[in-house]
Amino acid sequence: MNVLLVGTSHRLAPVEVRERVAVDADRAAALAEQLAADGEAVCLSTCNRTELYLATAEGDEAEQRATGALADLAGVSEAELEPYLYRLEGEPAVVHLFRVAAGLDSLVPGEGEILGQVRSAYEGGAVGPLLDRLFRDAVHTGKRVRTETAIAESPGTTSSAAAALAAQVFGDLSGSRIAIVGAGKIGALAARRLIKRGAELCFVANRSEDRGQHVAAELGGTSVPLDRIRQAIAAADIVVSSTSAANYVVAPEHVNERRGRPLLLIDLAVPRDVDPVINELPDCYVYDIDDLEAVVQETLAGREAEFAKAEAIAVAEASRFRDWLATRDVVPVIASLRERAEQIRCGELAKASGWLGGLSERERDAVESLTSQIVNKVLHEPIVRLKEAAVAQERRGPENRVEG
């Protein structure tokens, strides 16, 4: 059995192609079932990738089937789809999946959504011993990378930095309320990021009521005129401000006493909307565009090191998987060795049954147990050596293949 991957992703295919091969969870499960035939298959489909993982003994035939399935999904010929496809086999396929689960191959590197998508694909897949272990290890790799590196804490844009800072203050953002001051695109984008993390919009305070209502309707809040900004801020935990006003729009008198409830003010406007004096008030934290840029720069600088760590984890886990596969190869040999030893033990006991006839049942049980223990102890060393030799051979193998 061999691990085979045929797929397409944002690295090769434009969105027009990706959207045609993307499938929902039910269709992914049906496709996996169809492709599994007498092997195993998993279909991982997200907005950025559709990948088919197969564990199969017939490499070429399985590859043809997978390519055909993707071409059918896209509604084009295999030749037309060819430039957008990649194929990996053996260890490169394993490393690829582990990198995907770790978020290293994502459009926004380090994003966490992919791990849940890999888990869903695994749960809906037609898995057997090989892909079961492969996907469990992939999920484990994703978790390890998120626990042991700060890759997920690396926002690449000011709006994602704002969302990450909000999470630093409030933790889980579900239940946190946002007020937008100024219904521009930048503010709405930052609010969308926060909403994606579980926050909810309460007010949009804007000079133009039409525009404010439009954004409020789109994101699910209430539009209020700018002179009711005090009410909007009082209800909010996070304020996102991005007006084109020449002076401060949010002044200290607009902020009520917070009584221990933190207030994060994200000022995305230039010139600034939020009076920096507010940062001196208890429980208020003001971040302007320069502060957010600095957070992005800092995390980008640290990101390279975190990436190297995450890559090392993915490679180490792939190596562990390879070792497991290598020992799996010798399982039939070990089983037959044990079976033969058991036959000999039972045969010898049968031969000695005349001598043992006089023993009580308890004594016979003791003899059974004793002989079993002797057999196990004798076999232990050769079995360990057999597994080690299989791992060593796999590591030395010129092709470095991953087969089960």
């Binding site: 626990t147 042991e148 590196t149 700060a150 804490e153 690396s154 926002p155 930095a161 990450a164 800072l165 999470a167 630093q168 203050v169 409030f170 933790g171 889980d172 006493e257 917070r258 009584r259 221990g260 409830r261 933190p262 940062n279 208890p282 429980d283 934290y285 003001v286 971040y287 502060d291 600095a294 957070v295 720069q297 800092e298 995390t299 640290g302 760590k309």
Partner: protein, 259 residues
Amino acid sequence: MAEQLVWPVLFAYGEAAVAYAGNARTPGALGRFATWGVRVGWLAQTALLVAQAARADGFPWSTWAGSLNLFVWLVVGAYLIWGCSPRFRLLGLAVMPIAAALLAVSYVAGGTETSTTTAWHDVLLVGHIAFALAALAGFTVAAGLAALELWEERLLKRRRAGILQLRLPSLVALDRLTVTTVAVSLGALTIALLAGVARMPGHSLDPLIAGAVAAWLLYASVLYLRLRTGRRALAARLALTGVGVVFVLQLGLMLTHVA
């Protein structure tokens, strides 16, 4: 034989302290080693305490060194409730070296031995001491949490660009945990004080009782400031400085109440 359990405990706590220090410099696998050190050490210490309880005739931690042993177990236990999550590893760096050092002191002074020469049969006294120790352990952990909260608050106020890289718990989570820990510990201290009063009604006010009442008032103020007036930062500062009162109390408890 059972007293030999102190060695794996000391080793595990020491390993956790070193691993936490390493993890603070380079976050990664060392954090997991630290977490396992805390878990294994606490389980081994639990076994040690069970062995002590099984062999003693009455309350087995009746010496100051014994009470220190119990105190360390309570502190690490309180930390273990949530401290093993990756974002609380900085708190572990503060807790585990102290735990290891105090346990070593307890061992040197004979607090980890399994045969006790003095034993208490007075249930009220045992309850009084046990709840007081639990409260003190809780206040110690609350001080660690408050320190972390104040530090994070400072980083946010100063808009430090590297704050996300530190992978700290959220400010709101730290605030909630500090308040919860103080509330639970204050409950335990209240029970301890009531048990003390019930045991010796009419007992005159000695410095230790005055200290315990002062600690009760101090931590009640922490809760009042946080929950009634919303002065979060001031409450955290008070919870942090209160740890000084806690240590004076602990010292007083050791030197006067226990042999």
